[in-house]
Amino acid sequence: MSRRSILQTGTASVAAASLLALTACGGSEEQAEAWILTGGGWDAIADDLERFNESSESTIDVEAIENDAYKQQIRTAVGSGDAPTMIMSWTGGALLEYVNEERVVPLDDHVGELEQRVHDSVWQNGVVEDSVYAVPLNDVQPVVLYYNQDVLDEHGLSVPETWSDMESIIDTLEGVEDVDALSVAGGSVWPALMWLQYLTDRHGGEEVFSAVVEGEEGAWDNESIIYALETMQELGESGFIDNYNAVDAAQNEDAQLLADGRAAFLLQGSWVYATINMDFPEFADSGSFGFTTFPELEEGEGDPSNVVGNPANFWSVSSDASEAEQETAFNYISEHLYNDEAVDDMLNSGSLPPLNDVEDKIAGTDAEEFLTMADDMVANANHFQLSWDQAVSPSEEQPLMDNLAAILQGNMTPQEFVEDMNSQQ
């Protein structure tokens, strides 16, 4: 019995301690806060905020959270009125909800020169009903088709310009043992969304998905979306690497398959350029690491200059923050965001800020070739499609990913997919 009481006293002290800890957390009044993500280019953002803190009277507390955990925590925090001063988002459906719930404040008077500097196709993502509610904070992330030149050379192939080029490459590589045309991390599902997006866009143009975002009734049931889903299921038979549903992007296996020459192509976000340079330097420096845009679909209605991806991550300012906290955030946005040093840091790591004044700075950086291509892509894009999972309303995001997984696993037909997505609207 006495051991039990010791245990109880112990638990009670733990309880008391955690209560204290809870109160302590709530005690950071009048201190502006910002949550960012871990990994990738986020360290550079953290460094930049640090430099702001050193030069400014009022400072911003920075906390870095893992991507998936962030998405879930930020929603709860915003919903309960405990949001950090600066709320990071991918814009799209989530930003729209924040605006409708009046959780974020308009930034029109606090953007300084940013509006003139940022590419309009990117800037517009932060605009809701003619007011600026979010401003970009990092690099533009177009989805790029990476390739392994060695694999292409070995089988007498060249970089595809049209979808029929791609189809004949798939046919050629189909007969080769231990090499497949396309690496895709189907196990993580979201990389497959890039295929769905590009195929839909090339087939039917950007209007197809705009109708979905605008909530037009039955908009999912569109011939272009069905074409894309059918094509993906065909690629699952022949094209995508064997066991693609077991390949995981979190461990960069999809990039490794490209680097190892097990696959000729990889459709992935621009951040994979840095990943490959860091994790597979031999391949990156071998001269066989290439990148291009998604091929044109000859009979498609979509503009081949259209790009899908993430325009950037964006800052919004919480309406639940105190005036002083908001003032600090406004200062950061108008005075500090995309300062020269931060822009140089981004460029040197192969990330492209969505600014129209960086062209001259790209020359001479390590990633000059990649940045030039990405800059051309973004600057010349007729339309920049935000990733669908971010663009749809948050309640549709989970069904979209679940259904896409079912498509990949051959567990659902394209018709069932569009019907189920329509029923979620």
Binding site: M1, R4, S5, Q8, T9, T11, A12, A15, Q72, R75, T76, V78, G79, E97, Y98, E101, R103, G186, G187, V189, D242, N243, N245, A246, V247, D248, A250, Q251, E253, Q256, L257, D260, R262, P394, S395, E397, Q398, P399, D402, A405, A406, Q409, N411
Partner: protein, 308 residues
Amino acid sequence: MTATASSDTSVGGKATGQRRQGPSFLMALPAVLFFGFFALIPLGGVLAISFMEWNVLGSPSWVGLDNWDAVLTDRPFTWRALGLTVIFVVGSYLFQAPVALLLGVFMAGQQRYRALLSVLYFLPLLFSSVAVGLTFQSLFSPYYGISSALPFEWLPHDWLANPDIVMYVMIFVVGWCFVPFHALLYQAGVRQIPTDMFEAATIDGAGRVRTFFSITLPQLRYTIITSSTLMLVGSLTYFDLIFVLTGGQPQDSVRILPLDMYITGFSANNLGYASVIAVILVAIGLSMSLLLNKLSGSTKMESDKAGA
């Protein structure tokens, strides 16, 4: 967690009620407060939210029994998730219990290298489940994992992507993590058996197997009950490794109720439905631990040490 904690207190409460010995109720106050604050109040909150529509961001509104109706009747997946949960709980028990028992009995012996081996068996308990998850993810990788490393053609390459085997893979990985803990319980249990019982059995001519079934196993019955309760309720509410390794995929083949609750609540942002699932889980967990207590007669548990 909630269910285990509550079963503990109900046992403790009964014992003091019957005997009226030992320290006063005042001593239990911190535990009661702790339990009330961190278990009962949130439980009440979850029950309330199960009657509300709430997407986390907006303000919740009462919808009466709508959520319950929807989750139990309009949502076939609830029943599938329940079925998967039963498979997972039963499978985990069938895997963990015998392995843990045999390992525990072995670890309690006096063999050579036993201490060294025990340390090795114990290791999985020390690892964080996320680290274990990531490690197994690499092991199960189709191109860079164990299947490519070993020269066995028949090994599957899609351990985590094949809906037919992923449940068994998860039962194995989760079992791998929890067997050491239960083996430790059994080791302690075996060490408590008076040695004269074993000596008497040896004199009577019982061999190893006979001794195990006639002395060790019956003497371990209370340990078996404790360990079984922990295993069953633990796997009923198990979450982390399955989430890290599969997220419930492929084809939702391992989306057991706790995972379903999390995904519904925090990925699909439907806290009303998620709370209904949570309440169902609490109900099942509570009934299961109460039933186990009743069946095992643990309220009548008495020491059977020699001389006690």
